[in-house]
């Protein structure tokens, strides 16, 4: 993984000193709340329903055991002993005290971490495929480019006060595991006809209000031009993006209002005009970054039938919670944060410490966070899997449901977030209870549920096979259900099936939807494929069949 040199270290320490001074001025009354807000947001600090919320950056989801231990320690000392992993691979603490935040940031700096630009109208944490570097279908490892972008975007003098937040994702495989097409900029590594590596550039994707799929801006961008091109896009957006209405300020609105052809022309013109002065990515810099992400010193091993002869519980876990690895004899292992009865994405300090320890023993001391709010141990010897499973099971982290209906994504919702219209955690619990039978879950196969407590769509409900959106209806919490969304290889936005349903009806409605699938599917057909083949109508009809309350 990337390691700070003394320059990176000096930077994060000076950032902490700056924020300490800003917090002091705020608490002394020299900076009003309005003046302090943009400054604290750029250091990851929100003021939430109950307390401040601190969002700690985990650049492209990569953590060392040492860093995970520090997060556990911070959550215990400054919070309530747990944290929440987000779809953008970050960690949120829900209960820190404002006056403690400079100290928390100083603690993070001791392990080369920070909370810089995890909120506010600036370039946010750059995210990547959680299988980066180990996926069999990978063209190139996205992480060196993510780190290059992270450094370029950090306190960028021109782009720190954008019209709105700005999210970039990079993926190195044809299968888009980073949801790059619903990002403000999505970069997909590819090879051109000469075998040279470059990026396909998309822009204007985003969820929230008026969701949009990213538009193709450039089919192939040569590597050395990466930062010059990003500067061109950001400059066009910074100058022309709307600032008069927060709901129309994302780059997707600019792309839509100009039209993609005109937007592309603006970007290309800016890129040509600015090229001489724009930062060029020298091969030496790319090589320096790539050196941080070299393959691990793997042993020479052979694949074997790991699950053969083992108990069914291990077989199920092996099948659902592990993934193939590029290197024979190894597997990637999900640490499920989706135990039934638990909050999706939540993890206690004790669990973090235990996983840090397991990673050190069994996976080169590295842990990854995933877009789907789980953790991943990327490089586990197949012969260690059985022991790892037993350890994870004892920690409550081996729920064999990855990729199934209960591996759902959910934002923190009304219980924590001051933006939310409705709770998500109670609904998640309701769904976990209703679909607690593993055989039934396995029979349903691959289904993605994504749930957000409001229009801002932190739970990515638009791109869930089943999307759930909390809405406020005369002071009551109701839920709108959409079907057919996807962010994985074939990006599509879901369609709302009809009137929203009351809170206690959500799981039952989903139950009727998946029963329709079971009745109508062909042999081996996945839920999303049945949905695409039949369209929404049969699902819509059954969803409301026994539901007089919906109106």
């Amino acid at each position: 993984m990337y390691r700070y040199d003394d320059l990176d270290q000096a930077f994060v320490e000076q950032r902490v000193a700056e924020f300490r001074d800003q917090t002091r001025r705020h608490l002394a009354g020299e900076l009003s709340e309005d003046e302090f807000r943009p400054l604290r947001l750029r250091n990851g600090l929100y003021i939430q329903r109950h307390a401040p919320m601190l969002r700690i950056a985990i650049p492209y989801g990569l953590l060392s055991s040492r860093q995970l231990r520090k997060l556990a320690d911070i959550a215990r000392r400054y919070d309530r002993g747990y944290g929440h992993f987000t779809t953008r691979q970050n960690l949120q603490l829900n209960w820190p005290a404002l006056a403690d935040v400079p100290d928390i940031l100083a603690e993070l700096a001791t392990v080369q971490m920070h909370a810089i630009q995890t909120s506010g109208n600036c370039v946010r944490n750059v995210t990547a495929d959680h299988l980066a570097g180990i996926a069999r279908d990978e063209i190139d490892d996205p992480r060196p480019y993510c780190e290059i972008i992270r450094q370029w975007a950090t306190l960028h003098p021109e782009f720190t006060y954008l019209p709105r937040k700005f999210k970039i994702a990079v993926t190195g495989s044809p299968e888009d595991r980073a949801a790059s097409e619903v990002h403000d900029i999505g970069l997909q590594l590819r090879r051109d006809a000469h075998g040279d590596i470059g990026f396909t550039v998309r822009a204007g994707g985003g969820l929230g209000r008026a969701p949009m799929i990213g538009q193709l801006i450039r089919e192939f961008l040569p590597l050395p031009e990466l930062l010059a091109y990003l500067e061109a896009i950001l400059r066009v957006y910074n100058r022309h993006g709307r600032r008069d209405n927060i709901n129309k300020a994302r780059i997707k609105v600019l792309v839509k209002s100009l039209g993609v052809a005109r937007f592309r022309e603006e970007v290309e013109t800016e890129w040509s005009a600015g090229r001489e002065r724009a930062p060029r990515l020298e091969p030496a810099e790319i090589e320096r970054m790539r050196a941080f992400f070299r393959p691990q010193p793997y042993e020479v091993l052979a694949d074997f039938e790991v699950a053969a002869g083992r108990e069914p519980a291990f077989q199920a876990w092996y099948r659902y919670n592990t993934r193939p690895h590029r290197v024979p004899g190894y597997r990637a292992v999900f640490v499920s944060l989706k135990a039934h009865g638990a909050v999706p994405g939540d993890m206690t300090s004790q669990q973090m410490e235990a996983v840090a320890e397991l990673a050190e023993r069994l996976s080169f001391g590295l842990v990854r966070t995933t877009h789907s709010q789980n953790l991943l141990l990327a490089d586990v010897r197949q012969r260690d899997l059985y022991e790892l499973w037993r350890q994870l099971a004892a920690l409550g982290l081996a729920m064999p449901n990855i990729g199934t209906l209960t591996d759902m994504i959910a934002c923190p919702g009304l219980d924590f977030c001051s933006l939310a219209n409705a709770g998500t955690l109670g609904v998640a619990r309701q769904i976990q209870q209703r679909f607690d039978d593993l055989d039934y879950l396995y029979d349903l196969g691959e289904i993605e549920i994504k749930m957000s407590g409001c229009m801002n769509a932190c739970g990515h409900h638009h791109v869930g096979h089943i999307g759930i959106l909390g809405v406020d209806k005369h002071g009551e919490q109701w839920y709108q259900i959409s079907l057919g969304g996807s962010a994985n290889g074939f990006t599509a936005l879901g369609e709302v099936i009809g009137p929203s349903v009351p809170q206690d009806e959500v799981a039952a409605t989903i139950g009727r939807i998946v029963e329709t699938y079971r009745a109508r599917r062909t042999e081996g057909e996945r839920f999303i494929d049945t949905l695409r083949r039949l369209g929404l109508t049969p699902f819509r009809e059954h969803a409301y069949a026994a539901h007089p309350a919906a109106a």
């Binding site: 320059l7 930077f11 003098p157 021109e158 810099e285």
Partner: protein, 182 residues
């Protein structure tokens, strides 16, 4: 009395905005030109709005005093490209700290159009917490908003001694790395 940090030094503004009363003690020179009803000495250093320059460029080109133009965040700096040889100052307005358009305007003026005169950040959005970014985008003059502590703003220029992007005076981290390498 308007306070300016010019190349980090605190000075009293020696420029006048169009329509503004002359600063106390400044002698009105001979030869005045009318602007919006106000009498402006021909040789005073004067900052006019972009619209005024657009309305009657030849009149302003013929002035003997130094000329500056003030742009709002929505104004296109491209419009100014041909005028830059006549200008000693460009003032870019930041109506609030969240409006970042002036940073792009500044870089374009400096890097693309080669403007070498005074680049001044003005408006309620110019606060000490913006100073470091402003300086790195090419501003060499900061007009202090009411209530801003000049010493704090001066210190803000050196809040960081490292930065990831090109600019001055600190060299970008990437360059430092490559220079440090044999």
């Amino acid at each position: 009395m308007r306070r300016i940090l010019r190349r980090r030094e605190l000075v009293v503004d020696d420029w006048r905005y169009a329509g503004e009363e002359p600063a106390a003690g400044a002698a009105a020179g001979p030869g005045t030109a009318a602007l919006a009803g106000a009498e402006v000495p021909m040789d005073a250093a004067l900052i006019i709005p972009l619209a005024e320059l657009r309305r009657d460029p030849t009149r302003w080109h013929g002035r003997c005093g130094r000329l500056g133009v003030r742009l709002g965040p929505a104004d296109a700096v491209e419009e100014l490209a041909g005028e830059l040889p006549f200008l000693s100052l460009v003032a870019l307005e930041f109506p609030n700290p969240g409006d970042g358009r002036g940073y792009s305007q500044a870089r374009l003026l400096r890097e693309r159009f080669g403007f070498r005169g005074e680049l001044r950040a003005v408006g309620a959005g110019v606060r000490q917490d913006q100073v470091f970014l402003l300086a790195r985008c090419g501003f060499d003059a900061i007009e202090l908003a009411a209530g801003e502590d000049p010493q704090a703003s001066q210190r803000a220029f050196s809040r960081y001694d490292v930065a990831y992007q090109p600019g001055s005076p600190q060299v970008a981290i990437r360059r430092q790395r490559f220079h440090a390498r044999p």
